[in-house]
């Protein structure tokens, strides 16, 4: 067989191998993304087949829509509570666990357990634990003279409660990522730092651990931000956005507009804003991580 026919045969085989994937990517990603752009310029609603192009109407509606502002604000408050705590607690845990080799695997399992578990089911358990009258948390808080707190029923506390549940479900995940990053730091860097006089744990952290952990930290920050923006399950199960829309977050509003009120046009525009924000995070990561890899 000549080289050229061999090459052709290889290309033909390659097309056969990628064909199913190409068709599915087209049907599941490319076409829907084009369609969602199209729908976002219409007032399409699933209830009627008649619809009109309204240009940027849906996007203009966001600027004045109180629900949109409310959802954005709720998401930001929630993220502001969730992100710093999920980052620093996991980092702290990872460092503490790494220093205790003999307990590392048992602790890793215990902290990781919530990550694999079904959040929809565990949310019900949290609702029971957080019950304002008879929940165990208020029971124990009462024993030391605190509370009672209305965890899920009060407008001021519900986002904090959501953040706590998310924190519980994600700490193990971030911790394992940090542990992987820590393990990759060569031990001789710590020895060198110690020779330079940095043998206090705090010095070691700022001179070696933190700079070497840069890419991992960035990755954790970006994935956690995306997770925070995707908050859905606990809201859908526990509060449906309540009380009085105080836990109506961005993705939940998008879901309501599309699949409860069937305002497909507006919901499509909202989900594109959602995509834009995720793209932004991905971009930040791509730019920042590339600059920060410094082994």
């Amino acid at each position: 067989m000549s080289l050229i026919t061999k090459k052709r045969a290889q290309a033909r085989l390659a097309y056969m191998l990628v064909l199913p994937a190409v068709l599915l990517i087209f049907g599941i990603y490319v076409l829907p993304i084009i369609t969602v752009f199209g729908i976002s310029f219409t007032d399409y609603s699933l209830v009627s087949n008649y619809f009109e192009f309204i240009g940027l109407g849906n996007y203009r509606q966001m600027l004045t829509d109180e629900a949109f502002g409310n959802a954005l604000r709720n998401t930001l408050i929630y993220a502001g509570l969730f992100l710093p705590s999920s980052f620093f607690i996991s980092l702290f845990l990872a460092i503490a666990i790494q220093e205790r080799k003999q307990f590392r695997s048992i602790l890793e399992v215990l902290y990781f357990l919530p990550v694999t578990s079904t959040l929809a089911a565990m949310a019900l358990v949290w609702a029971a634990l957080m019950d304002s009258n008879q929940g165990v948390i208020n029971l124990w808080a009462g024993a030391i003279g605190l509370g009672p707190f209305n965890w899920l029923g009060s407008e001021t506390m519900v986002l904090l409660s959501m953040a706590l549940i998310s924190l519980w479900s994600v700490i193990g995940f971030n911790m394992v990522l940090f542990l992987a990053g820590l393990t990759a730091i060569p031990a001789n860097l710590y020895e060198a730092a110690a020779i330079d006089g940095a043998d206090h744990p705090v010095d070691k952290f700022f001179r070696v651990t933190w700079p070497m952990l840069g890419p991992t930290s960035m990755f954790v920050a970006v994935t956690s931000s995306i997770t925070a923006f995707k908050l859905f399950d606990t809201v859908a199960i526990l509060t449906q956005g309540g009380p009085n829309r105080s836990s109506e977050v961005f993705l939940y509003l998008t879901f309501l507009e599309g699949f409860e009120y069937f305002n497909m046009g507006y919901s499509a525009a909202l989900s594109l804003v959602f995509l834009g924000i995720i793209f932004l995070f991905a971009l930040v990561q791509a730019l920042f991580v590339d600059r920060n890899v410094q082994y």
Partner: protein, 285 residues
């Protein structure tokens, strides 16, 4: 020598602090595990004991047998679990069948359009189901496919993440071995099935765990396309308790336990694989 001295120096004076730190770590671990303990404990109790002011982990009256019997045999939880297994299994099989060959072609074969395809894969990595759900839903509605197993699985039949992951994995497979196999008269199909696939078992196993867990725990998509009770997944079935529990609390938490148990038990049996599989999404966005 000096490194031994250093470790000794850093250990001895801090041993008390180290012990306190260890205690706090286990206290934290107790907080992480407590919801599971509370759930299982409550699933074994009669209703009036679940919210007893005098909380105890061991039930005073054991109603575990009745609660689980109710959930498994008088309520459709076995159907829900079956549906979850079917949907997750179906998704995984199609994902592997479509992703492995495509990833091999992208990693090892030269063809026109391969960089466009790979670019599309990378772009698609950032697009979550929440963005494409409207057109896919409308499409399913127009074709009368809503509330079917196919509708529950369809958006996940291709995993761009799997293509990306397997491509990285296949690229590290030595070309010389593939060329040698070609010289020995292996067809490309044989090369994939007998050389590449066996070498990719660890990556495939990790991805399988990731995919299965993700779709088992997914609430969003089943909530959108499933309406009839006999199609409900285990996770979706938890929606019937939204804001309002079953008046029988013991039974409510027996069902929550049944829904959570498969993934938790599987995790405890294959801890390394689970941790690797789930955090592997970490490779790149």
């Amino acid at each position: 020598m000096s490194s031994i001295n250093l470790t000794l120096r850093s250990f001895a004076p801090r041993s008390v602090w180290s012990l306190i730190g260890t205690l706090f770590l286990f206290l934290g671990a107790w907080v992480m595990v407590f919801p599971f303990i509370w759930m299982v404990s409550s699933s074994l109790k009669p209703t009036d004991e679940v919210y007893d002011a005098d909380f105890s982990i061991i039930p005073r009256t054991f109603k575990g047998f009745e609660n689980y019997y109710e959930v498994l045999f008088n309520q459709p939880y076995l159907t829900y679990l079956m549906n979850s297994f079917l949907v997750c299994g179906g998704i995984l099989i199609v994902q592997l069948i479509t992703a492995v060959p495509a990833a091999y072609a992208l990693a090892k074969l030269k063809f026109r359009g391969s960089s466009i395809l790979f670019g599309t894969v990378i772009a698609a990595l950032t697009i979550p189901i929440n963005v494409t759900s409207i057109p896919i839903y409308v499409g399913l509605a127009k074709t009368g496919l809503l509330d079917t197993y196919l509708a529950m699985m369809l958006p996940f039949f291709i995993s761009v993440f799997a293509i990306f992951l397997f491509r990285q994995f296949f690229r590290s497979f030595p070309d010389s071995v593939i060329d040698a196999a070609r010289v020995d008269g292996f067809s490309e199909m044989e090369i994939i099935l007998r050389l590449i696939l066996p070498s990719a078992v660890p990556a495939i196993a990790a991805f399988s765990v990731f995919s299965f867990v993700a779709h088992w725990n997914d609430l969003y998509w089943p909530l959108i396309v499933v309406t009839s009770q006999d199609k409900m997944t285990a996770t979706l079935s938890m929606m019937q308790y939204q804001s309002d529990f079953d008046t029988d609390y013991g039974r409510t938490f027996a069902s929550a336990t049944v829904v959570t148990a498969p993934m938790v038990i599987a995790f405890l049996f294959a801890r390394r694989l689970f941790i690797r599989g789930i955090t592997m999404t970490g490779v790149k966005g």
